[in-house]
């Protein structure tokens, strides 16, 4: 056999221009269909759990208890705080981070709301603004430590959790601060109690806030350049940096959003329970993360959707509700919940995968 001729290796391809060839194309339409189907896949688990809930719900006087409007409203109200936190958490997880401090920030914000209104006699607006500012600043500080020193967010926010819980306890003297309404000293403005009310007696205010924030965040994530930067950082940080994405700033902003929404959830919490208690919200971080991940967002960052998170939060709420309505033993509930969560996550796996 001939030895290969080294010069032949580099023979110019330009001499014999190859004919233009159309690159292979997918049949567009069919794929658009499949794609659209799977795009809403984060809803699969939700729809499945919803249908099962209807099927297994107890019926009283011919009425499906699960489907009663009061019950549905309760479900959304019950998940609203976790849901709002999960919205913020979605941003954090999209950039590949995690925020364990949200539950403690919720407690801090609840204490703050109660203290400022009851003890310091501030009005609603200043109180809300100050508390939101505290939450935002707390989140931004954590973000800055993550972005500037480069410590993993898990550690920074785990430390943040402890710090926020400690501060909340010190601020409140360790005890829940009850909120009484009225015009007198040591009383909060009556309007604050609206947070525990409903619109038209049907739609609980926290549920409305959750849905509004969810939709707002969903639009934000679909339309803004900020959102693209978030996805880019989570997907390929180096590419993002090379493209001129202000990586640090976006990172800090994302943790600030998470802190802001956790503080908002804390205000709602205080309003709903008429009390600011420093121990409230413990463990909420895990529920919120579960909602995000069940919603199909990857903990590795870079892929996921806000719609999924909202669906995930509702799924958890329905699950809690239907187990309770059926009087399942609390310990059995734990086991069943574990299994359903895994099953719901498995459903998301139907999606055809890239790579």
């Amino acid at each position: 056999m001939n030895p290969p001729n080294p010069t032949a290796v580099e023979e110019a391809p330009a001499e014999t221009p190859p004919p233009r060839r159309p690159s292979l194309r997918l049949p567009r339409d069919r794929h658009a269909l499949v794609d659209n189907f799977f795009r809403f896949q984060s809803l699969f688990g939700l729809v499945a759990v919803f249908l099962i809930a209807i099927a297994v719900s107890p019926v009283r006087n011919g009425e499906n208890i699960f489907l009663s409007s009061g019950n549905l409203a309760n479900i959304v109200r019950a998940v609203s705080e976790i849901g709002i936190i999960a919205v913020g958490m979605t941003f954090v997880i999209l950039i590949g981070g995690i925020d364990l401090s949200v539950g403690a920030v919720l407690g801090l914000a609840a204490v703050g709301s109660a203290t400022l209104m009851v003890d310091s006699g501030l009005g609603i607006l200043p109180t809300v603004l100050i508390v939101l500012l505290i939450g935002t600043a707390f989140g931004a500080t954590q973000g800055a430590i993550v972005a500037r020193i480069g410590i993993q967010s898990f550690i920074v926010t785990l430390a943040g959790l402890q710090a926020a819980r400690g501060i909340a306890r010190m601020w409140s003297g360790g005890l829940g601060i009850p909120i009484a309404y009225g015009d007198g000293p040591q009383e909060a403005p009556e309007a604050f109690s609206l947070l525990s009310g409903s619109i038209n007696g049907v739609l609980p205010v926290p549920a409305v806030l959750f849905i509004a924030i969810g939709i707002g965040a969903l639009l934000l994530l679909r339309t803004t350049a900020f959102a693209r930067h978030v996805y880019a950082i989570g997907g390929n940080e180096k590419a993002a940096r090379l493209s001129g994405v202000p990586v640090r700033r976006v990172r800090i902003a994302v943790f600030a959003i998470s802190g802001l929404l956790a503080a908002l959830a804390g205000i709602i919490h205080a309003g709903q329970l008429n009390q600011g208690s420093p121990n409230d919200g413990s463990g909420y971080e895990l529920d919120a993360i579960a909602a995000v991940v069940i919603g199909g967002t990857s903990l590795a960052g870079g892929s996921g959707s806000m719609g999924g998170t909202i669906a995930g939060a509702l799924l958890l709420g329905i699950l809690n509700n239907i187990l309770a309505l059926n009087n399942i033993d609390a310990n059995v509930q734990l086991v069943v919940k574990g299994l359903v969560i895994v099953a719901a996550a498995a459903l998301q796996k139907l999606r055809p995968r890239i790579s």
Binding site: P58, R60, I65, S68, G70, N71, N74, R77, A78, E81, R169, S172, G174, L175, G176, P178, I179, S196, H269, Q272, L273, N274, Q275, S277, P278, N279, D280, S282, G283, N320, N321, A324, L325, N327, D329, A330, N331, Q333
Partner: protein, 310 residues
């Protein structure tokens, strides 16, 4: 007030013997042995009442979850609510909601605000703390001495009240000094590690006042590891009539004394029976349960009296 007097009327109207009754028990959390025993007391007592069915929910220490639990009970149409609130204020509104819908409400252990409930049954933590303090002042350390305090979860009312009552109780004996206070968050293993450190910082402690029995047991273990278990006296609170409870610990000599914090479970079912089966309208609004001081002398006897299983 609107709810006053109307609460419980619906259910009361349906009362009578030979009927089925669904009772919702909203528990603040199942992780504390005390609350588990309360649940067991309620379910066991309910077994003896024909027609009673009890469902227990676990709020896992979360006020919001407990509100949702009660809401779910209301959706299901329970005939009576027993609730041991995680905290008073946050649950006041939802308890009132149930009460206003005509569901009789028995509040156990921790109160809610206002009076939109049918009855409250509970112990008195300040009194228990005080009893413990007086026991220290008169019996345990009459010559005075150094006491270490292991407290419950910071921010919880019982922890605050048991601390306060104790201080009132020892006030009569100025030679008793509290040299250190550390929290062990109601947990046995934290009691152990906290005691480890306290023994180092204060090797001359005479007694350990623990806000509950498990923490006292943990502290005992730490002292035992340091070879000081006989030099230090330990007391707890709760005295649950279960094998892992404080009564057994006293009987077996690990604890010097413990003070019963009654669950009120049996009493609650008794009262539920009066309301639902006997159609009794005027149950007492408040029942305060007393405490029993348990020492080696009466431990075995009290254990049997309280129905503890061997």
């Amino acid at each position: 007030k609107a709810g006053d007097g109307n609460g419980g009327t619906d259910a009361a109207a349906q009362c009578g013997s030979g009927k089925e009754f669904l009772i919702g028990m909203s528990q603040a959390n199942n992780a504390e042995p005390y609350r588990q025993v309360m649940n067991d007391d309620i379910t066991n007592a309910a077994k003896d009442v024909p027609g009673f069915k009890v469902v227990v929910s676990d709020a896992a220490q979360d006020n919001s979850k407990q509100v949702a639990d009660v809401e779910n009970f209301i959706s299901q149409g329970i005939n009576l609510l027993i609730i041991s609130p995680n905290e008073a204020k946050p649950l006041t509104a939802v308890v009132k909601k149930a009460y206003d819908q005509g569901i009789p409400v028995i509040v156990l252990d921790r109160k809610v605000e206002g009076d939109a409930y049918t009855a409250f049954i509970g112990g008195d933590n300040v009194a228990i703390g005080k009893a413990a303090g007086e026991y220290y002042a008169k019996t345990l350390l009459p010559q005075g001495g150094k006491v270490a305090e292991i407290s419950g979860l910071p921010g919880s009312t019982p922890a605050a009240e048991r601390a306060q009552g104790f201080r009132e109780g020892i006030a009569s004996n100025p030679k008793i000094e509290i040299v250190a206070t550390q929290t062990a968050e109601w947990l046995r293993e934290k009691g152990q590690s906290v005691m480890d450190a306290m023994l180092k910082a204060h090797p001359d402690i005479d007694a350990v006042y623990s806000h509950n029995d498990p923490m006292a047991e943990g502290a005992y273990l730490a002292a035992k590891a340091a070879g000081k278990e006989s030099a230090i006296k330990f007391t707890g609170i709760d005295a649950l009539p279960v094998p892992s409870g404080g009564i057994k610990a006293v009987e077996q000599g690990r604890l010097q004394a413990t003070f019963q914090y009654p669950t009120g479970g049996r009493e609650a079912i008794d009262m539920a029976k009066k309301i639902l089966v006997d159609c009794q309208k005027d149950v007492p609004k408040t029942t305060t349960l007393g405490t029993t001081q348990i020492t080696k002398e009466n431990a075995a006897q009290v254990y049997t009296e309280l129905g503890g299983k061997q």
